[in-house]
Amino acid sequence: MDEDRSAVGSVVGAVSPATASEAKAADTEAAAITRSQRHASALWIAVVPTIFLAVFFGWPLVTMLRRGLAWSAFSSVLGDSGIRSVMWFTAWQAVVSTFATVVLGVWPAYVLARYRFTGRRALSALLAVPFVLPTVVVGLAFLALLPDSWRRSVPAILVAHVWMNVAVIVRTVGSFVSQLDPGLEDAAATLGASRWKTLRHVVLPLTKGAILGSVAIVFLFCFTSFGIVRILGGPAHPTLEVEIWRRTTQSLDLSTAAALSVIQLVLIVGALSIWTWRQRRAASGPVAMRTRTAFRTASSRTESLAVAVTAVVAAAFVLVPVGRLVAQSMQSSRPGNPLAAWQAIVHSDLGASLWASARVAAGAVLVATAMGALASIAIAGNPRAGALLDAGLMLPLGTSAVTIGFGLLITFDHPPIDLRGSWVMLPLGHALVATPFVVRAVLPTLRGIDPDLRHAASTLGARPWQVWRNVDLPVLRRALIVGAGFAAAISLGEFGASSFLARSGTETVPLAIARLLGRPSKLNLAEASALATVLMVVIVAILLILDRQPGGIGQSDVHRRRARPARVARTEVSR
C-alpha cells in the first residue's frame, strides 16, 4: 500500500476510521508492568489539551445548544418553508454527490490498488490532491472550468463535490482492495470467470463493506459542504451551512442560526448512526486479508487498454480543473499583460492577505502541535482515559467548520472571555480542526518507541526529563514536523470557521478569494485565481515535503523497499 504512506494519503486517512492501524511495541511481561507504572504519572499531561477542548469546543457547543434549543426558535424554523427547502436541498445534493463519487471512484481505486503500471505512484499521489485543496480553491477552479450556463447551478456543485471526494474512495477502498488476497481472483479465473465477471462476482461483493464505510465519510463532507456551495451555488442554492452563515453574518438572526446548527448536528448524527447500524448488519463476516500488496500486470490487450485509459482519464480528471485555474489567473482585462493579476496581488492589499494567512497559520501550527503532542503523550500513556481524550479531540472534525466558527463567535463575544476583534480567534478555531491530525501523526510513532529504550536510558543515569529529551524527542521530532505540516495546510485553506471569525481586518487568503468573487469582474476573477494558485502550490508543496520526511510518515518505506523483490517473488511465482 504505497499510497497509504503518502502525506496526502495520510490526510485522507486521518479522517477515515476504517484504516486506523497503529504499530505497537512488542512487550515482555516485565516491560508491560513497568510501563503501566510509568504511565500512571503521565495523566496530568492531559490537563492542558482537555481544558483547550472544553473551553474552545465544549463551551461554544453548549452555548449554541442553549440558544438553539429555545422552543420559539425551533417552531419558527420548522414552520418556515424556505428553510424546509434548504434542508431538502442539503440532503439530496449530499446523497447524489455521494452516489456519483462512489460510482466514479471504485474503478480507479481498484486499478491503482491492483495493477502495476508506469506512473502508478505518481497517479496515486495526484488523485489525493483534490481532497487536500481548500474548498474555495476547488470552487474557483470549477468556476473557471465550467461553461457560463453551468455557473451558479446545482450540477456545478455536484461535479465539484465528486472531484474532491473521489480521493476518499480511492484511498479507503483502494487500501482495502490492496490487502484482499489476489488468490481469490485467481480462483475465480480458473473457474471460468472473465476479469469483468471476477470484479462483479468476487471483488465487488467483498469490497462492499469498505465502500459503505467510505460512503459515510463522503456523505458527511457533502452534507456539510460550505466553501464549494457558497462559491458555485450562489444565493439561489444554499445548504444548511450556508444558511447558518447567511443568518449570522447578514441578517444577524442568531437564534435561527443556532436552531439550524442544532438541527444540522442532529441530522448528521442520526444519518451516520443509522448508516453504521445498517452497515454492521450488512457485513458478510471476516475476509481473509494479507498484509502485503500483490500487484498484477494486465494480461490481455483489453485489460491493458482499460488500465491505460483509466490512468489517463484519472490524471486528466485532476489536472484539467487545476490547469484551468492557473490559466484564468493570467486572463485579466488588461490586454498584453497576462501577469496583471499577479502584479496586483503583490502590490495591492491582497498581499496583506498572504501575510495574514501566514500569521494565522503560524499561530494555528503552534497551538495544534503543542496540544496534539501533549494529548498524544497522555493518550499513549493511559489506554482508557486516553481513548476518551482521543475521541473528544476527533469531535471537532465530525462537527462542521461552520458550527465551530459559529459557536466560537457567539461564546467569546462577551465577558468572561471577550475576544471580539482579536485575530487569535482564527488560529484557535483552526487549531481545533488541526489537532486531531497532529495526534494521528504523532501517536503511532510514540507508541512505537520500545519502553525498554527509555529504561535503558534511565539505568544509565538519565533523569525523566533527560529520558524524554534524549529518547522520545529525537524520534518524535519528525512526526511533530509532519503534524505541524498538516496543521499548516489545514489552517491555510480553512474557510468555514474563518467566515465567522475574521471580522477584524485579518483577512486570510480564502476569505480574500471569496470577497473578490462577491464582486465578479474579469480582473477580480483573475486575481482570485492567482491567490488560489499560490495557496494550492504552497499546500501541495508542504505535503510533498512531508512525504519526503525520512522519519514521520515514510518511516517504514525503507524496510518495505528492501523487502519488495523477495515478496513479489513469493506472491507471483511460487504461490
Binding site: D186, A187, A189, G192, V202, P205, S284, P286
Partner: protein, 216 residues
C-alpha cells in the same frame, strides 16, 4: 486427448525458476509432480492454468494452442493450497460459482452442487458459511468447487499440505478415490513421496521434466 506443456521457461529477477520444462499428461491420467519447495512446481501449475505467463514455451490441448488464452477460457481447474474459498458465498455458492460463470441454468446448478456435495461426503453442508468449516471440510469444498464445471484437467497445488498427519492420510485415500471415480485428468503437486505414490499413475520429479535430460 493430451495436455502438453512444451519448453516452459520462467525467469524472475534474473533467477531461472523453470528452465525449458516439458510435461505431458494423457487423458484420464493422474500425474504426481514431486519436488522440494522452490523447485518451481507451483509455478508450472500456474503457467498451465494461465495465471502466470511464461517467458517462452507453449501449452497445448491436443492440437489447440492454449498459450494465448486467458485462464477463464482454458477450462483448466485448480485446487489452491490455501483453498481460496470465496468468503462472501456459502458452501453451495462456492461450488456453483464456476457453473454460474458458464451460465448454466439454476436448476442444473443445484443438481450438480448436490452431486458434488455427495461426492465429497458433505451432504447438507450447502448453506453453511465457509467460516464454519474445519480444515478438512474446507479442502473438500475446494475440490468440489474445482470439479463442478468438469474441467479438462484438474491441477492440485499441494492441496493436502498443512493438515495434521491423521487427517492428511485419510484425505489422501479419499482424494485418490474421488479422482478415480470422476475419471478426471489431473496433475497433483506435492513434496510428499508417499502421497504421490498413493495418488498417481505416474510419479515425476521436477528434474524429470528438464528437456536436456536424456529421456527416461
Amino acid at each position: 486427448m493430451t495436455l502438453r506443456a512444451i519448453g516452459i521457461t520462467v525467469r524472475f529477477d534474473q533467477r531461472l525458476i523453470l528452465d525449458d520444462v516439458d510435461l505431458s499428461v494423457d487423458d484420464g491420467e493422474i500425474v504426481a509432480l514431486l519436488g522440494p519447495s522452490g523447485s518451481g512446481k507451483s509455478t508450472l501449475l500456474r503457467v498451465i492454468a494461465g495465471l502466470l505467463r511464461s517467458e517462452s514455451g507453449t501449452i497445448r490441448w491436443d492440437e489447440q494452442d492454449l498459450t494465448a488464452l486467458p485462464p477463464h477460457r482454458r477450462q483448466i481447474g485448480l485446487v489452491f493450497q490455501d483453498e481460496q474459498l470465496f468468503p462472501h458465498l456459502d458452501v453451495a455458492g462456492n461450488i456453483g460459482f464456476g457453473l454460474r460463470m458458464a451460465r448454466v441454468p439454476r436448476r442444473r446448478i443445484a443438481e450438480r452442487t448436490d452431486e458434488l456435495l455427495h461426492l465429497v461426503q458433505l451432504e447438507g453442508f450447502g448453506h453453511r458459511s465457509i467460516h464454519e468449516l474445519s480444515g478438512g471440510e474446507a479442502k473438500r469444498v475446494a475440490l468440489a468447487r474445482a470439479l463442478a464445471p468438469s474441467p479438462r484437467v484438474l491441477l492440485l497445488d499441494e492441496p493436502l499440505t498443512g493438515l495434521d498427519r491423521e487427517l492428511h492420510d485419510q484425505l489422501v485415500v479419499e482424494l485418490a478415490a474421488i479422482l478415480r471415480s470422476v475419471g478426471t485428468t489431473a496433475v497433483h503437486v506435492t513434496h510428499d513421496v508417499d502421497e504421490a505414490k498413493s495418488m498417481a499413475d505416474t510419479v515425476l520429479t521436477m528434474g524429470d521434466l528438464r528437456r536436456d535430460r536424456p529421456s527416461a
